[in-house]
C-alpha cells in the first residue's frame, strides 16, 4: 500500500512537471533584441505570440545573435562586450560572461563547438567554448604599427573557419579553428579601405566585405587555391557625389536571387545589383535613402530594404524580375531590422521608436499584426542555426 501511494506521488509529480513545461520544438522560435533595456523577447512565429522576456543582458545597441546547432541556445553579442547564452526554451540566461570592453558581433563554428566574438576594444577576436562559455583563445588584431584594430564582419565558413576584417588597416583575416591548441591564421593584408561589415555566401564560397573608405567590395573566393582577395564594383559610385552616412549598412545574409546579388551602396541612395557569375554591376536601383539591410525574401522573388536615419520610417520592396521598386511601406519611426520566417510567408520588422514589432504577410505585403517591444532592434529566428554565415 505504501509503495502504491509512493508510485501515485511520483506519477503526480511527473504530471505536474509536464504541465509546467509542455514539450515543444524550437523551429518556430525567435529572439528579439530590446536594445535600450538590456532585455530580449522570446517569440514564436507560427502564431506570432510573445512567449516571454529575459532581462539583464547589458548594453544591447547593435546586438546580434547566433544559435547553437540544436537551435535551443541563443548567443547574444552585446555592445558592452557581454556574451550571453540564452536558453530560449526555458526563457532564461544559461551563462553570461563579460569578454571585452566593446564588441560588435560573433559567429559559431561549423561544428557548433566554438563561438567567436569580434571586438572593437581591445581590438581582436575571442573564441569561447560554446557549451561552457569558457574563453579558449584570444587573437589580437594587431596592425603593422602595433596598434589594435577594430574587428568587423566576423562570419563563419565551412571547415571550422572564421573570417573577419580589420576596420583600421583593411586586412582580411582567415582563422581556422579546431581547438585551443589547433588553430592558425592566414592574413590578407591591406585589402581595402575601412571594411565596415561582411557576409558569407550560403554555399560558403565567398566572403564579401563592404568598404566605407572607398567604392567597392572585397571578394575572397574560398574555393580558389590558394584563396585570393579581389576588389569588385570599384566604380559603383562613379558620377555621383557621396552623401553622408548616418548609419552603417549591414551585410547580413546574402540577398541573392537567381544570378544576382543585391548590395547596399555606401553614401548613395541606391541598391547595387551585381551578377554572381562575373561580378559585374547589372543595375543601380534608386531607393528612398541609405540602405541598411538589403534582404532577399526566402526564394528570392522580392528583396526588402530598410534605411538609415533620417529615412528609417520606410521599407521598400524590389521585384527581382524587373529590378524595380514595387512597394513602399511606412511601418513607422525607426525601422531597424527585418526577419523572414523560414519559408517566407511572413516578415517581421522592428519599429524602434514606436516600441512595436510588426508582422507583414509577404504575399500581399500588408500588415498582419503588431506586438509591443521596448525599443526593438534585431530579430533573429532559430532557422539561422542551420545556415552558414548567420
Amino acid at each position: 500500500m505504501k509503495s502504491l501511494s509512493t508510485l501515485f506521488m511520483v506519477l503526480l509529480l511527473s504530471a505536474c512537471t509536464h504541465l509546467s513545461t509542455p514539450l515543444r520544438g524550437t523551429g518556430d522560435l525567435g529572439v528579439i533584441i530590446e536594445r535600450a533595456d538590456g532585455s530580449v523577447l522570446i517569440v514564436e512565429h507560427s502564431n506570432g505570440t510573445t512567449l516571454g522576456r529575459v532581462t539583464g543582458l547589458g548594453d544591447l545597441s547593435h546586438a546580434s545573435i547566433v544559435y547553437s546547432r540544436d537551435a535551443r541556445y541563443a548567443y547574444v553579442f552585446g555592445r558592452d562586450g557581454g556574451l550571453t547564452k540564452v536558453d530560449v526554451l526555458k526563457q532564461r540566461i544559461d551563462k553570461r560572461v563579460m569578454q571585452a570592453g566593446n564588441s560588435i558581433g560573433g559567429a559559431i563554428s561549423q561544428d557548433g563547438r566554438w563561438v567567436a566574438v569580434s571586438n572593437y576594444q581591445p581590438g581582436g577576436v575571442n573564441v569561447f567554448d560554446a557549451h561552457t562559455l569558457e574563453r579558449v583563445a584570444h587573437i589580437p588584431a594587431k596592425t603593422d604599427d602595433g596598434r589594435l584594430s577594430k574587428v568587423v564582419g566576423l562570419a563563419d565558413a565551412p571547415g571550422n573557419r572564421f573570417l573577419f576584417s580589420l576596420w583600421d588597416n583593411g586586412d582580411i583575416w582567415h582563422l581556422t579553428f579546431n581547438g585551443p591548441n589547433d588553430y592558425h591564421i592566414k592574413k590578407f593584408p591591406k585589402a581595402g579601405a575601412n571594411p565596415y561589415d561582411a557576409l558569407i555566401s550560403p554555399d560558403g564560397r565567398y566572403y564579401l566585405a563592404g568598404l566605407f573608405g572607398e567604392d567597392g567590395l572585397l571578394k575572397l573566393d574560398l574555393w580558389q587555391q590558394p584563396p585570393k582577395v579581389e576588389k569588385i564594383l570599384q566604380d559603383y559610385g562613379r558620377g555621383n557625389k557621396k552623401m553622408p552616412v548616418y548609419k552603417m549598412p549591414h551585410l547580413e545574409g546574402w540577398a541573392v536571387a537567381g544570378h544576382n546579388a543585391y548590395i547596399p551602396a555606401i553614401g548613395r541612395h541606391q541598391v547595387i545589383v551585381v551578377s554572381t557569375d562575373d561580378w559585374t554591376m547589372q543595375k543601380r536601383i534608386e531607393v528612398a535613402g541609405q540602405p541598411v539591410f538589403v534582404m532577399a525574401q526566402p526564394g528570392g522573388r522580392y528583396v526588402w530594404v530598410n534605411f538609415a536615419f533620417p529615412d528609417n520610417h520606410q521599407i521598400q520592396v524590389i521585384d527581382t524580375q524587373t529590378l524595380a521598386v514595387v512597394k513602399t511601406l511606412n511601418p513607422g519611426k525607426g525601422v531597424l531590422h527585418m526577419e523572414f520566417t523560414p519559408r517566407g510567408d511572413h516578415v517581421w520588422m522592428s519599429v524602434r521608436d514606436e516600441n512595436r514589432v510588426d508582422r507583414y504577410r509577404t504575399s500581399d505585403m500588408t500588415l498582419v499584426d503588431s506586438r509591443p517591444a521596448l525599443s526593438p532592434s534585431g530579430i533573429f529566428f532559430t532557422t539561422r542555426a542551420h545556415k552558414v554565415g548567420l
Partner: protein
C-alpha cells in the same frame, strides 16, 4: 593649437548659452541616444566611433566638438549633422555630452 581650430575658437569665444525648448530637447536627446548611439554606443562607451563619455570629452574644447558635430570629420565615418540641428542645438548637445546629460530615457 591648429590655426583652423584657433579661428573657430575665436568665432565661438562667447559660447552661446541659449537653449532649445523642452520638447526639442527631448527630441534631440532621443536622436543623440538612438542614432549617435548606433556608432558611439547607447551608453556612449564607443563603437565604430569613439567614446562620448564625459571623462573622455573632458579634455576636448567645446568648439572642436561643435565643429565635429556640425560639419562631420573628413576621412572618418562621422557625418555632418547641420541638416538636422541648428547652432544653438549643437551648443546644447555639446554641453550635455560633456555633463553626461544624455540618458536612455530622458
Amino acid at each position: 593649437m591648429k590655426p583652423w581650430l584657433f579661428i573657430f575658437a575665436s568665432l565661438f569665444a562667447g559660447w552661446v548659452q541659449a537653449q532649445p525648448d523642452s520638447d526639442r530637447q527631448k527630441a534631440i536627446s532621443h536622436i543623440v541616444v538612438q542614432d549617435c548611439g548606433s556608432c558611439h554606443g547607447l551608453q556612449f562607451k564607443g563603437g565604430l566611433g569613439p567614446s562620448l563619455l564625459p571623462e573622455d570629452l573632458a579634455g576636448k574644447p567645446k568648439e572642436y566638438l561643435f565643429v565635429t558635430i556640425k560639419y562631420g570629420r573628413d576621412g572618418s565615418a562621422m557625418p555632418p549633422w547641420s541638416r538636422f540641428f541648428n547652432d544653438e542645438e549643437i551648443h546644447w548637445m555639446v554641453d550635455q555630452l560633456q555633463k553626461g546629460g544624455f540618458h536612455e530615457k530622458p
